[in-house]
């Protein structure tokens, strides 16, 4: 797997999500994603960015353009230094939420992307990594 391009943006306030989404859209178009896949990855990014703002007061989001064999894709890494997630399997369950939301954020996001991984250490922070392949 080769990383062709990499860009990191800080997401500290709610309005930071909009330029991030726009940048992501540019990359998704460049990679040649269909409109449906563009919409899916941008929606997934929107969910993850909100989680970061809501539970960790923001963090950093990295966009990477990937190439694996003949397939291109985008990897997003959301890293925060928030309180961490005590029970990841519970957080991944549909309908579970500690906040006031519907609890669709993480499980819903997983359905929208090709690969999803989450790494969290209590008191240190959380890193969520997702990949959307061009045709994935």
């Amino acid at each position: 797997m080769v990383i062709l391009n990499k860009e990191t943006m800080s997401i500290i306030r709610e309005v930071d999500v909009i330029p991030f989404r726009n940048r992501l859209k540019e990359y998704a178009i460049k990679v040649g994603m269909s409109l449906v896949n563009q919409t899916k990855i941008i929606t997934a990014a929107s969910e993850l960015a909100r989680n970061m703002l809501k539970y960790a007061n923001g963090g950093k989001a990295t966009i990477e353009v990937l190439s694996k064999g003949r397939e291109n894709g985008i990897r997003l890494i959301f890293h925060d230094e928030g309180p961490g997630i005590p029970d990841i399997s519970l957080a991944m369950k549909d309908g579970y939420s500690t906040g006031k939301s519907m609890g669709l954020g993480l499980p819903g996001t997983k359905r929208l992307v090709s690969e999803f991984s989450i790494d969290s250490v209590i008191g240190k922070g959380t890193t969520v990594t997702v990949i959307k392949w061009k045709n994935g």
């Binding site: 709610e14 309005v15 999500v17 909009i18 989404r21 409109l35 449906v36 563009q38 919409t39 899916k40 941008i42 929606t43 929107s46 969910e47 909100r50 549909d94 939301s101 519907m102 669709l104 954020g105 499980p107 819903g108 996001t109 359905r111 929208l112």
Partner: protein
């Protein structure tokens, strides 16, 4: 502060979302709309989202809330013009927007709203008759 305009057309309210939604903007619209329904006695709300390219779980929930609140305020809500990619994404996300009336475009949405409102008035007329007997 940025705001989404709410236009009045007779007994209907027309909201055309032409910008990228972010959380606070959607929340402001939700609060404004209930106020305007109250102030103008509107019976229907038409929300045009044809220019909205991303709806995530938060914004989807706001749309659902708006429909529920309007209903309590005795107004019907129709959401029109959803882009196909947005519809696919919403369903996969797990947010099928149950309980929200939708139509393909503004014209069909208007028809649906007018039909709903006139049916409601008919029903009221009948039950009034019943009471007087």
């Amino acid at each position: 502060m940025e705001k989404i305009p709410i236009l009045r057309m007779g007994n209907l309210l027309l909201v055309t979302i032409q910008v990228d939604l972010y959380d606070r903007l959607a929340e402001t619209l939700e609060a404004d709309l209930v106020q305007v329904i109250k102030k103008t006695d509107a019976q229907g709300v038409l929300i045009d989202i044809s220019a909205v390219s991303i709806i995530d779980s938060f914004m989807g929930r706001i749309i659902g809330n708006i429909a529920t609140m309007s209903k309590i305020m005795d107004a019907e809500t129709v959401v029109v013009g959803m882009q196909p990619a947005v519809a696919i994404t919403l369903v996969e996300l797990g947010l099928p927007l149950k309980g929200v009336l939708t139509a393909l475009n503004v014209e069909k949405g208007m028809e649906l709203l007018k039909e709903k409102i006139s049916r409601k008035e008919d029903n009221r007329g009948e039950s009034d008759d019943g009471d007087s007997e």
